[in-house]
Symmetry: C2
Subunit: 253 residues, 2 copies
């Protein structure tokens, strides 16, 4: 971040900082070709929800944390964008939950895997954590998927009962659900296939979600299981966006 | 495009093809670091307008064409994304209008300028056109802008009375309007500063807009001046998005 010179008082500072983080990650070889385009789509949806954690997202976040804390074998799955935007906080979360992090990328190349695994190991050292980082030696397959994107680790994703998979592809999300797992999706687009497939979908920006999870844990805030309906959750998000747009439409009158 | 293997019957074919075009352009050095993120934002808004030319966009397109056809010194300003997505059709349009195309990029580097200028010259040869391509030797400045982004050509942007500037930065758009020009903006985000600043804003995807303009010209469809209110135009777009979302919200009920 040394070369990021924007003024923190700039109204678009957070957004510019995230862009910069992703451009740096792209230069390091952490991202697939489509990663920046995906981030841009996220930016547009984030703008429509007001670049904030809305109530229904916070509710989903708390239910997600309850599931992760009470899981037998929780796991956090990260790809390039997730690592670039929220690597440190998700490593802290894994440490709190005492669970592994697994690098699990859609366009798997040895180079990208190495860069991402090294990046997470450096976070372990920097933050003095001891999180188990999986993904280097996949020894299992997600049933129903073809090719390298099916690869996973037996002691991580394969055996997990609850999985946090931010920014995940729709097909993979569906395959994980079909394995009987509780799948926690983080996606800014409430209409995406992943959002619709997830057991719990947090429609929020991944770095805010990670910070919220850490903050709830570190403040020792109690989370308890409440009835959760993911379709209703997504509908509340759509209604929020709709209302924002109605207000924006009025503003231009 | 030789290495693009998606099936044209794929429901997301157009979107995948555009992504591929931009990724190729990025590899050739045509794009700034933020270009793919900007494209992703566009994708999200395009999804919300239904990936189609809506009526108010077609109306704006026709009014834009009327202005370009009756201008004394029309010019088409292109950046990296515009060139990648609609270079050929905008060169055809310039040929029909007998006006220059000026390469005009926000993050101006000699390398990017050279790659873009060469790409357009190759289109001239491939399509047997004789369009004047400006931008290599800027000899004027847009008042009110600082640094390299103020640079332009006297015989192109500087002296134009009507300018088509797809995917333009808000500040530059504002500076062009302040010069007294009729500024035709193409932007998928109806809430962007450029969209709000433009004289005529076409809220549509640039390759569709270019195809529509060529089609109107080649079918010798008459375009006549009608009263045009850009605020009203943008409001109709927001209402369209709002209505789409309302329908999508209902679908999930």
């Amino acid at each position: 971040m040394d070369d990021f010179a924007a003024d923190p008082s700039h109204p678009r500072y957070d957004s510019l900082l995230k862009r910069h983080m992703l451009e740096s990650a792209a230069q390091k070889g952490m991202l697939a070709g489509s990663a920046l385009i995906a981030h841009g789509r996220g930016e547009a949806y984030d703008y429509l929800i007001g670049e904030q954690t809305i109530d229904t997202a916070m509710n989903a976040t708390k239910q997600a944390l309850y599931q992760l804390k009470t899981a037998k074998n929780p796991v956090i799955s990260v790809n390039g964008n997730t690592t670039a935007l929220a690597g440190e906080d998700l490593m802290r979360l894994a440490s709190h939950l005492n669970c592994p992090i697994e690098v699990n990328i859609f366009y798997r190349t040895p180079k990208r895997m190495t860069v991402l695994l090294e990046h997470l190991q450096q976070i372990n050292q920097k933050l003095e954590l001891n999180v188990e980082i999986l993904g280097a030696l996949p020894d299992a397959r997600i049933p129903g998927l073809e090719g390298p994107r099916a690869k996973c680790c037996h002691d991580g994703i394969f055996s997990s009962d609850v999985i946090l998979v931010p920014l995940e592809d729709g097909d993979r999300c569906e395959a994980l659900v079909a394995m009987g797992k509780t799948v926690i999706v983080v996606d800014l687009n409430p209409l995406s296939r992943s959002a619709k497939m997830g057991s719990i979908t947090i429609v929020d920006e991944i770095s805010r979600v990670a910070k919220n999870l850490i903050s709830i844990i570190e403040n020792e805030e109690e989370v308890s299981q409440l009835p959760f309906d993911n379709e209703k959750n997504l509908q509340l998000v759509l209604e929020h966006i709709n209302q924002s747009l109605t207000e924006l439409t009025k503003l231009t009158e």
